[in-house]
């Protein structure tokens, strides 16, 4: 038996959010993923709401807070997360809750949109494609793999305090992905959009983002690169 405590809130019915305690029978000899446990709970109580899609850590839908740490429920094994036979499931911190474990990601996407997450190149397009050298392509490794699950940004206190002004680790990782791209010609404009006291400089380098990223990426390092580019441009 696994004791699971789930954050429940249905604004149409509940006055305030509450924690619901549920005992879940875990099949003998199996190490389930947290998403499987949510499936077992939903069989008992179909009113529980959560997001899920690919169930293999690719789509980034089921980001949530499991025993105090953000991660993807579908690739987090019970053996890694359960302590003392107990599992506490909460929505991603810092974003408005729509219902139960489902959060409103609008602010997160707004920050993503702000960094112009697409290649900008005004030079005439070549006949087939814009080629990159192997070295230039390698610069994008560790940057392009982000699946926008929001685990990092919602683990970041600076994003909690200023979600409307601080771009957040996820957005900044993507910002650097395009700053580092040899095919992108908008480096100056991109940097000009980031040099205010909030967008980049609210990062205090506490590396919560690195510790929670389910894809093993390093937003703090990318933010460091952006800061260096801003400094080189300023002095």
């Amino acid at each position: 038996m696994l004791k699971v405590s789930v954050y429940r809130y249905n604004p149409d019915v509940d006055e305030a959010p509450y924690m619901q305690d549920i005992e879940v029978e875990i099949p003998e000899g199996k190490d389930l993923m947290v998403l499987d446990v949510l499936g077992l709970i939903k069989e008992k109580d179909p009113t529980l709401a959560y997001r899920r899609s690919c169930r293999e850590g690719v789509c980034g839908s089921d980001g949530m807070n499991m025993n105090g740490k953000n991660g993807l429920a579908c690739i987090t094994a019970l053996s890694d997360v359960v302590k003392g036979g107990k599992l506490v499931l909460r929505p991603l911190p810092g974003l408005p809750v729509i219902r139960d474990l489902v959060v409103d990601m609008s602010l997160f996407y707004k920050q993503y949109e702000k960094i112009k997450p697409y290649l900008i190149n005004d030079t005439p397009a070549p006949a087939i494609e814009r080629l990159q050298s192997i070295e230039d392509r390698e610069k994008l490794d560790g940057l392009y793999e982000c699946i926008l699950c929001a685990c990092c940004s919602t683990a970041c206190p600076s994003f909690w305090w200023n979600p409307d002004k601080f771009v957040g680790p996820s957005g900044l990782l993507q910002a650097y992905r395009f700053l580092a791209d040899s095919r992108d010609t908008a480096t100056e404009e991109r940097l000009a959009d980031l040099d205010d006291p909030f967008s980049v400089f609210r990062c205090r380098g506490i590396m919560n983002c690195v510790s929670v990223c389910p894809k093993g990426l390093n937003p703090t390092k990318a933010i460091g690169h952006i800061r260096n580019m801003l400094l080189e441009r300023a002095v």
Binding site: D193, D195, F198, F201, L231, A234
Partner: protein, 115 residues
């Protein structure tokens, strides 16, 4: 792009550079004071007065004092924009910090040069 009007520099980069430079100055000044205290053994009024009658010590102290002004402003401004959400309360806090830092600098100049 966010454009606040109450931060120290003209943008985040400048604030960041000011914060780091002043931190270095303050660190060196702290080492200087601690080193002086250790090397001089007994601290006497006469010894202390002699030290601060040296022009370079006064200039160095003033530099440290101005560094406190800039460093504390950048830091407290950041703290206030993180944690204090009502604009009026935030403004009053920033005003209080600004006036206090100004008083420190004027007071420090008076102490150093006895104006």
């Amino acid at each position: 792009m966010v454009n606040p009007a109450t931060n120290y520099g003209k943008n985040g980069v400048q604030d960041w550079i000011v914060q780091r430079l002043t931190a270095v100055i303050l660190a060196i000044y702290t080492l200087f004071i601690i080193g002086t205290l250790i090397l001089s053994g007994d601290v006497t009024y006469a010894g202390w007065k002699a030290l601060f009658s040296l022009t370079w010590v006064r200039v160095f102290s003033l530099m440290a004092l101005l560094s406190v002004l800039a460093h504390a402003w950048v830091g407290l401004w950041t703290v206030s924009t993180d944690y204090i959400k009502p604009p009026m309360v935030r403004f009053l806090f920033q005003l209080f910090c600004g006036v206090l830092l100004f008083v420190y600098v004027v007071w420090g100049v008076e102490v150093l040069w006895g104006l």
